[in-house]
């Protein structure tokens, strides 16, 4: 039976984490159909059809799916579930909200945050903030999985999968959308960025975070992240948080500025390819995971670093 992958998108475009979750879905060994649920979501469906390995795109384009609220999208997922051997979604706010709802309605125990597909029924997943890895075999006939996308490479492009349109399904009501505040940013998305520059409590204020962390990020073309301490102190918005309960990232380069390295933070970034830490405390735990550590005052070092990078790029 085929695998159904729930696409992460905003109607107009497909989020790059979808291509990473697709790699995990393909590892199950069955044809993969991608479900794009939204309102005016054809552009996202067309982007999904280009992803290598997709057998078919299902487009549920209806006002009922605007903003992808959990209740209607889960009802749609349940209506499709009987034709699929596995239901898969990236571990995003959307995937985490919708998929357990679907799983409960088809009486399946979900496997959350899959980091490796060992076989079509056996998966690795982190527990205790990534301090242990559990290997589980899912015994339910249908597998329901959310994917930690940082652990998978993105599937390529160069496909033209057919797009099949679906009608809306009668779903449970009870929730309505009131509003959204999404920060517009020219920077890359944290969960898909190649380079991330993160700041911690040592930045001392929102102004200094802005003045120190962001220029370095822009010089590198990087996304900006933050530790929980920096977010709680109000230096950075909460959707920048990297860690166990924030975003889990694995960029090519992660630069930690003034971050001590609490286990909850390390859980969110320790799979990065190269880690750089700048901290004035030479005993900070972040240095135990950093490939390159620089002990010193970040307010002096970061501007130097920015200048050196500009020089290196020139």
């Amino acid at each position: 039976m085929a695998t159904l992958l729930f696409a992460e998108h905003d109607d107009a475009s497909l989020n790059p984490v979808t291509a990473r979750a697709l790699t995990a879905a393909l590892a199950l060994g069955a044809p993969v159909h991608v479900l794009v649920a939204g309102a005016n979501a054809r552009p996202a469906a067309e982007a999904a059809a280009k992803l290598a390995g997709v057998a078919e795109v299902l487009l549920a384009d209806d006002a009922a799916y605007a903003h992808r609220l959990a209740e209607p999208v889960a009802a749609l997922g349940v209506s499709l579930a009987k034709d699929y051997g596995a239901l898969v979604a990236p571990s995003t706010a959307f995937g985490k909200s919708v998929l357990p709802r679907v799983a409960a309605l088809i009486d399946v125990m979900q496997v959350s945050d899959v980091i490796a597909v060992v076989s079509p029924d056996t998966f690795d997943r982190p527990i205790y903030a990534g301090n242990a890895i559990q290997r589980v075999r899912a015994t339910d006939a249908t597998k329901v999985l959310t994917i930690r996308t940082a652990s998978f490479t993105a599937a390529g492009e160069g496909n033209a999968a057919p797009i099949r349109t679906l009608g809306a399904v009668e779903g449970a009501a009870g929730s309505s959308f009131l509003g959204e505040e999404i920060a517009a940013s020219a920077r890359p998305d944290l969960s898909a960025a190649r380079i991330i520059v993160s700041g911690g409590r040592a930045l001392g204020s929102a102004e200094q975070f802005h003045a120190i962390v962001e220029p370095l990020a822009d010089e590198l073309g990087a996304a900006v992240g933050a530790s929980r301490a920096a977010v709680d102190a109000g230096y950075a918005p909460n959707d920048w948080q990297v860690g166990q309960t924030g975003k889990v990232v694995a960029p090519d380069l992660y630069v930690a500025l003034g971050i001590s390295g609490a286990i909850q933070h390390l859980a969110g970034m320790k799979d990065s390819k190269v880690i750089v830490a700048v901290n004035k405390d030479e005993d900070a735990p972040i240095f135990q995971v950093a490939d390159y550590g620089l002990v010193g005052d970040l307010f002096e070092i970061v501007p130097q670093l920015k200048a050196e990078i500009a020089k290196a790029k020139a």
């Binding site: 357990p100 979900q110 890895i133 290997r135 929730s175 920060a183 309960t245």
Partner: protein
């Protein structure tokens, strides 16, 4: 309006866990246990709604073996009115099963709101609230950072990727808490003493009609691939040299 708050007993968030050498799990003997931090936020939010006159009673429920009542007592010491303990032989009941047990408790208690932590810091599943909402056919709002109870509705601001989203749910509904919803209170000594007299009703999974058999077979629990510290560099220039060589710039 009654609020039901499910709470979970987990390894304290300050404890650095150890994986057992034989791969059978995580060392839990003589380890400090506490209420899951997200559940503390759920209890706090329920108490604030009661103190604001929006709720009349806060009922804490937990599912687990011996000593799980300590976690319920913590909720009672914070200010919950009474507790329900679904006593099991083992810890680690799966979220789907927990959701079924909670559904049965909702049927007998009739709360208008169930507030749960968004995830437990032991299994990190992030499922129970959504599953409970699905089984009840109720609307849900996960990752709440602000909760405003209206007349028959609740407006919830949620932390989503890229920012915040606000939903209006018709009551009854299920909410799950994110970190920034509130700062949970500490239980005062007089309240800890008072909590000892508050009632905790014991129930069994059998009387709630729920089968506890797990659906996931845990094959092994292992240490994550370690990462060793690299080198210390002396200057920004040296660092950039290394990064160029590593090909990540």
């Amino acid at each position: 309006m009654k609020i039901l708050v499910p709470v979970k007993r987990v390894v304290d968030y300050n404890v650095k866990i150890r994986v057992k050498a034989d791969g059978s799990g995580v060392e839990l003997t003589n380890i400090k246990m506490s209420m899951n931090p997200f559940d503390e936020i759920a209890v706090e939010e329920a108490l604030r709604l009661k103190e604001a006159g929006k709720a009349t009673e806060v009922v804490a429920v937990s599912i687990g073996p011996v000593k799980t009542d300590e976690t319920i007592r913590t909720a009672l010491a914070m200010g919950a009115d009474r507790g329900i303990w679904v006593k099991t032989e083992e810890a680690g009941i799966e979220p789907l099963t927990v959701a079924k047990l909670l559904k049965a408790i909702v049927a007998s208690e009739g709360p208008s709101l169930v507030i749960l932590g968004k995830q437990a810091i032991d299994d990190d599943c992030n499922q129970t609230g959504q599953m409970l909402a699905a089984l009840l056919g109720w609307p849900q709002a996960t990752f709440a950072s602000k909760v405003v109870v209206g007349d028959g509705t609740v407006d919830v601001t949620r932390e989503i990727d890229g920012g915040l989203q606000t939903l209006r749910l018709a009551l009854p509904a299920v909410l799950t808490t994110d970190l920034r919803l509130n700062e949970p209170r500490y239980a005062s000594l007089p309240n800890i003493m008072k909590a000892k007299k508050k009632p905790i009703e014991e129930k069994s999974a059998a009387e709630l009609g729920v089968d506890l058999a797990p659906r996931l077979e845990i094959l092994a629990t292992t240490e994550p691939a370690g990462r060793t510290g690299g080198i210390k560099v002396a200057s920004a220039a040296e660092l950039v040299g290394h990064l160029k060589q590593a090909g990540v710039l």
